[in-house]
Amino acid sequence: MTSWWKAWGTGTTPPPLNSLEKRLAFLFEFQRFAQNRRLAALIAGAEARFSALLTDDDLEQVSAAGQPDERILKGERPDDDGV
């Protein structure tokens, strides 16, 4: 099968970057429909890593709250007072 990229119609010349961006936008839109498993795994990984990142606002809130509870850092529950 002809590669979609070769089928772009530009012969041997790769498409310019703005065309590449349009193509990426289309492909990712198509992915919402076609659900390619390999691509879905990459997307899940990227979104999970992004969600795990703290924003500046989050960091400010942590800073404003002061030192984290020592028990949490040790992996203990804060309400666990040994009772």
Partner: protein
């Protein structure tokens, strides 16, 4: 599914979940099912005119589905960024799109360093602005733009 065994029953079985999932990713759950039914009707009406030499069945159905979503926003005059995104994703070679293209893209993205891959996905799939990605990743916008440009250059090389 090949062109020779095209039947609405077969199409329904294979594509209904895909159509519904795509529409649900774009509009509210209640209206999605109505729109999905409308798309299936359009497919049924257009099936006789479908030409497998011009596009794969999957691409043809996707195009009908995407157009239905775009029309949905247009008729409701909803000025949402989302509908603009869908319209912006139109391209002249869409008829040649095959599911294999997604495999090629996945293979290329896998070759990218993780951070570059993430930036491409977050920007073009998730729809997060480069500024927001930069802020969340704790880097300057200009630095992120450099990395983004480098990722695009690599993709351009590998996909050409």
């Amino acid at each position: 599914m090949t062109a020779s065994d095209l039947s609405m029953e077969g199409i329904y079985r294979e594509f209904y979940p895909k159509i519904l999932r795509y529409i649900r990713s774009r509009i509210s759950r209640q209206e999605a099912e109505d729109l999905c039914s409308a798309v299936l009707l359009k497919i049924q009406k257009g099936l006789a005119g479908f030409d497998p030499r011009k596009a794969s069945l999957s691409t043809w159905i996707f195009t009908i589905t995407r157009n239905a979503v775009t029309d949905y926003f247009r008729t409701r005059r909803v000025e949402e960024e989302l509908s603009e995104e869908i319209a912006a994703a139109e391209d002249p070679a869409e008829g040649l799109m095959e599911e294999e293209a997604l495999e090629e893209l996945a293979a290329a993205l896998e070759k990218l360093p993780t951070r570059e891959c993430d930036i491409i996905i977050l920007h073009y799939y998730t729809g997060i602005s480069l500024k927001e990605i930069a802020a969340r990743m704790g880097m300057s916008y200009s630095n992120l733009k450099l990395i983004h440009g480098k990722a695009l250059s690599r993709l351009r090389q590998w996909l050409s």
